[in-house]
Symmetry: C2
Subunit: 392 residues, 2 copies
């Protein structure tokens, strides 16, 4: 770091995200017994609240783990070694889940898709129709791909399963969409919803969860995957659930407060706010690249642009790393980098969780400042476009 | 709860344990990027600090998980399905690890031991000597059994392996002994040290770790256990280690502060303090049961009494539950209950982590008060004996 940074850090990574002071203060208290009546009451309230934001009346399990742990929980409770799952390619995270499936002993077929354009749902329907023997046990989709800034139309994916009368389970990663993008687990017929604490739920990293449909619970009864830490059967002994080990008491203190904040604002209002801030971000990026020489939106499907993260593609031959380094070192603005094959080729602006207009505008204007300092070519007018978008 | 509790809660569970205000304050700060230079520097400092308290110069992995997750990490990285491990019976937690081993596909042989007297090391040596074909791939021991209040003499267990020239790995659960009881991973020839955040490290629940010997790392290369979330190979890409998923930034903020506190007091002084407070607790319990009718120490091996938790056996036919309920509801004192077959038959006084004389004496005196209120027979003089012990 060049100099001691001053002022509050502007944190625009797509995860972890800003933790509201109210949540930090709620966690700043002595521990209590995780078997006490007091804690169990908090646990019940949090379970109900998470089910409300997932829009499910079915089963919920929480884990002392990151979102990757919740994915592993889904896989190891549902399947048996050698079974086939179909992963919809979307980017870095769909590749991670494919790797996880393989590492845990599954046969993983990838439904290829361009990272900038996303899934052709027709191809999914075609593949499912071919699978007369129903060898595909589940379709896995990243609802919001944090690496590319694109979301997938889950209701259309559900329709492809319904229209081909395919019984496969539908698993959805909402780690970067829960409480940020519209999501309706039960109404959309999703069997597994994977969520994490450190994004729209505005908590520190360390807790994750899965919504589980009745159908998925039924399938889980036949699973032969070796499992213990993430084994649902071991969590069923207590209400609303037991943990394998000590329950993460402080995460629940925080979750109770963040759910309260979400319900004070109203879930619909939270989703609308994400939509407005995202559109302003995109307006800025479109202005930067209006001359064809500056940065561009990485996602090329206008109806699938993510409301929680915008991935910005750098001009050909210009790395995003020096600009990001200037942003953090000189101006105390943290931006996300490119993941996997996108390292250096893109940067990412996270606009999810505890964020408002001045936080976003400060970020966008400082991104312009950092681009200028780093010599990244861009057209002017980005912040103006964002302000106009927000004023509309 | 009968009435709204007043005053500070006295928290004498054996885990989670008291979190110092300094640690809570250190965690009460905005998040930072887990890939930033700033965070990686904190991670390096914490790795070095944990290795110092484990007394190892070998490899350390940390996990976003509870101690059970760290145990699973050890098992799934070291072994292959069907391999045999030898679990030394000590109580509830040795049974949990046995169950975990079985659930993950291992053959688990239990070396039976009385829960009140503990392992006969001669029997271990005998069993190892019988195993000419070296089918036993590892010996697993709970260094400090949180359920019974007894620790195991790890150097003697090491000697049994050495004297029989048995190549099995030696795995040790220090979840309730790390930074509380004397422990020397490298000097004692331990291959795996499992630790958790919410005990001697004085942090919230949600982080755990394994020290790993060079020998264990070598054995891990041959492991065929399916694994992903806890897979060491996936953590090796970054220094000091990567996480599978986002790193638990706030746990590291807390760990950095707790390690600082431990080093300010001095690790030896911390261990001595645990020894003094434990001895005072035992003096009280011995006084309560001096007439043969009151509560007794559950552990019957005087040289293996735990310095982090004392398990107190109730008089025949008297449940510990009403007394514990009075303690928490009326006096805001949280005591641990009995686990598994010991439910109701014992209670547990945790005296580990951030604890001093008045905290312990308040707990012991209030335990007398709760016993009196619940009609539990006990001889007087417990607190006097504790004071005398501390004054000595």
């Amino acid at each position: 770091m060049n100099a001691k940074p001053r002022g509050r850090q502007f944190f625009n990574n797509p995860g972890p995200t800003n933790i509201p002071d109210r949540v930090l203060r709620a966690m700043d208290r002595p521990v209590i017994d995780f078997l006490s009546e007091e804690f169990v009451a908090i646990q019940h309230a949090c379970h109900a609240g998470v089910k409300r934001v997932m829009k499910t009346d079915q089963t919920l399990y929480m884990y002392t783990a990151t979102g990757h742990g919740a994915w592993e929980a889904a896989i190891c409770n549902l399947f048996s070694p050698g079974e086939k799952i179909l992963m919809i390619e979307s980017g870095y995270f769909s590749e991670s889940w494919s790797q996880m499936g393989k590492n845990l002993g599954l046969e993983v077929e990838t439904l290829a898709a361009d990272w900038r354009k996303g899934l052709d749902v027709g191809k999914l329907a075609e593949r499912l129709a071919q699978d007369k023997g129903h060898e595909i046990k589940a379709v896995l989709a990243v609802h919001n791909e944090t690496a590319t800034g694109m979301f997938l139309p889950m209701p259309e994916i559900r329709r492809a399963l319904d229209e081909t009368r395919h019984p496969a389970l539908l698993l959805s990663d909402t780690i970067s969409s829960l409480v940020s993008l519209e999501y309706k687990m039960d109404a959309w017929g999703i069997d597994i919803t994977v969520g994490g604490s450190q994004k729209g739920l505005m908590l520190p990293t360390g807790m994750s969860m899965t919504g589980v449909s009745a159908k998925a619970l039924d399938v889980a009864r036949k699973s032969k995957m070796p499992r213990h830490y993430f084994n649902w059967n071991l969590m069923n002994g207590r209400q609303p659930q037991g943990f394998v080990g000590t329950a993460p008491v402080h995460m629940f203190f925080g979750l109770q407060e963040s759910l309260k904040m979400i319900e004070e604002e109203g879930l619909d209002a939270v989703i609308d706010r994400h939509s407005r801030l995202a559109e302003a971000t995109r307006a800025a990026v479109r202005a930067w690249g209006a001359d064809g020489k500056g940065p561009q939106l990485y996602c090329q499907s206008p109806d699938r642009l993510s409301n929680s993260v915008t991935t910005v593609m750098m001009p050909e031959g210009v790395s995003s790393d020096p600009m990001r380094k200037i942003a953090i070192d000189r101006f105390n603005l943290s931006l996300g980098g490119g993941l996997g094959p996108l390292a250096g080729k893109v940067f990412r602006i996270g606009h999810l969780g505890d964020l408002n207009e001045p936080m976003l505008l400060g970020c966008l204007a400082t991104t312009e400042l950092a681009m200028k300092a780093a010599g990244v070519p861009f057209a002017s007018g980005g912040v103006d476009a964002a302000v106009a978008s927000l004023a509309a």
